[in-house]
């Protein structure tokens, strides 16, 4: 017979898991759409004939001048999952137009592409150029989204023409190295070092995290990333190993050791708040209603996650202020929220982490899962 607390824990774990699964199934139904539907929407269906060549390529024929050439469908990997594009080439292979048919990118990043006329720059480019390279420069501040579109074009072209791709090489750079070093430092902090060594390690890791992960790469673990993984949108491991290191490192360490190394010493915004609290003399404040509030914080994160998953749009789960703080990206509301968060963080240590951050909810779920498993095994072995 299990203790009531263990029964309660299992109930929470199972109910949350079922809710997430139901949202994923609903989201998969929502995102169903066919290539023909997109073609008919874009071209005049009554005057154009669409002939499928393979899973990625269609041949156009018809009386209208734009009903010639080919249409390709390809997929790239963006910030929050796949970016699918449809593009039309004329009979000699020059791109006529590009339509992103499906993506989950954060609207502010995608808006940057429009502002820079990114899609227009690719028009009239010879499609054959995409065989070995991505010929148009990325948009600064929306690098991942712009690369995803070019990847999608390349993917559509190579698959449509059944050309072989180059062998892939893992892109391991400064960001990945920095993440590994930060996790290593984070784990060392939890070992039995002396107080002064731990303090030195912690502050070094926090400064490194703020500068490199925050200001240079703007790389964080956020809810939309987790939503993207749950919805089955896995970015290309060879191109984005940093994403796997961040998510894998954080979750595996939390599961195995029960320690939340990510929030404690890797998260750049957490580190920035600690630095702000040091400047303002902020103290960790725990009001009497803090425990009750945690349910609101976790419940809010779960609701947003379910909403994003059920709409098959992980980008909807993006309500963290990290991007706004480090690179001034995000909608005006997020930018507006960032200002009081920064000011309050001067006086309340880790205000965002304690009261709002949805990632805390994710780690709370993992912690609950781990502790419940251990508790159950301990009871079974008695």
């Amino acid at each position: 017979m299990h203790k009531p607390s263990n029964f309660r824990n299992w109930s929470i774990l199972i109910v949350v898991a079922l809710m997430i699964m139901a949202a994923i199934i609903h989201g998969a139904k929502v995102s169903e759409g066919t290539q023909r539907h997109y073609l008919e929407e874009t071209f005049n269906a009554s005057n154009c004939n669409f002939k499928p060549i393979n899973a990625n390529k269609w041949e156009l024929s018809g009386l209208e001048p734009n009903c010639t050439g080919h249409v390709y469908f390809g997929e790239g990997y963006g910030y929050n999952g796949p970016v699918r594009v449809m593009f039309h080439t004329d009979t000699v292979g020059f791109i006529q137009f590009i339509v992103p048919v499906d993506h989950n990118e954060t609207p502010s990043y995608f808006k940057k592409l429009e502002q820079h006329g990114f899609l227009n720059h690719m028009i009239s480019t010879q499609i054959a150029l995409y065989k070995d390279e991505e010929p148009v420069d990325m948009v600064s501040g929306a690098t991942i989204s712009s690369r995803a579109i070019q990847q999608a074009i390349r993917d559509g072209y190579l698959k449509g023409e059944q050309l072989s791709t180059q062998s892939k090489q893992i892109q391991f750079g400064m960001l990945e190295l920095c993440i590994l070093v930060l996790f290593l430092m984070g784990m060392l902090i939890h070992t039995k070092y002396g107080h002064s060594q731990r303090r030195l390690l912690r502050w070094s890791s926090m400064v490194l995290s703020v500068i490199v992960l925050g200001f240079v790469f703007n790389a964080h673990l956020h809810l939309s990333r987790i939503a993207a993984f749950l919805a089955g949108y896995f970015p290309d491991f060879f191109l984005y190993p940093a994403v796997y290191l961040l998510i894998g490192g954080s979750l595996v360490i939390a599961l195995l050791s029960g320690k939340n190394v990510y929030c404690h010493s890797v998260c750049p915004f957490g580190s920035a708040q600690e630095i702000l609290a040091k400047i303002g003399g902020g103290k960790p404040r725990r009001p009497p209603w803090h425990r009750t509030w945690k349910w609101v914080q976790y419940g809010g994160a779960l609701i947003v996650l379910l909403y994003a998953l059920s709409n098959s749009n992980p980008g909807l789960a993006h309500y963290e202020v990290f991007g706004a703080f480090f690179s001034l990206t995000g909608n005006p509301l997020l930018l507006g929220i960032t200002i009081p968060v920064v000011v309050i963080s001067l006086f309340v240590k880790r205000f965002w982490c304690r009261f709002i951050c949805p990632i805390d909810g994710v780690f709370a779920y993992i912690r609950l899962f781990r502790n419940t498993i251990i508790q159950t095994f301990a009871q079974l072995l008695k």
Binding site: L276, I279, G280, G281, P332, L335, G336, I339, V342, V343
Partner: protein, 96 residues
């Protein structure tokens, strides 16, 4: 019109000058009342902070005046927040 008026323009700037003097006299009195010891470099930091804050406010509202409301809000938001952080750090330095 007001900014170019031969009478109201100078009066406005004289009033502004008087307000600045009153502000610093008030600040000196407040610091004395709170028993915060001041020296020349502390005053230099305070005046620098005040000038920077002034530039932020002027910059932001100039952008509003140029019908660049969004840019003005971003300017005030980013540099205003930065000035708030520097202000808190400065106050802690003065009271140390």
């Amino acid at each position: 019109m007001f900014p170019y008026s031969t009478f109201l323009g100078p009066v406005f700037w004289m009033a502004m000058g008087a307000f600045v003097v009153i502000f610093f006299m008030g600040l000196a009195a407040l610091l004395k009342d709170r028993q915060i010891p001041m020296n020349w470099w502390k005053w230099l930091l305070v005046v620098t902070w005040c000038i920077m804050l002034y530039i932020v406010v002027v910059g932001g509202f100039t952008l509003f005046g140029e019908n660049e409301t969004r840019a003005g809000l971003y300017f005030l938001g980013v540099f205003g927040t930065f000035m708030a952080v520097v202000g808190v750090a400065l106050y802690r330095l003065l009271t140390k």
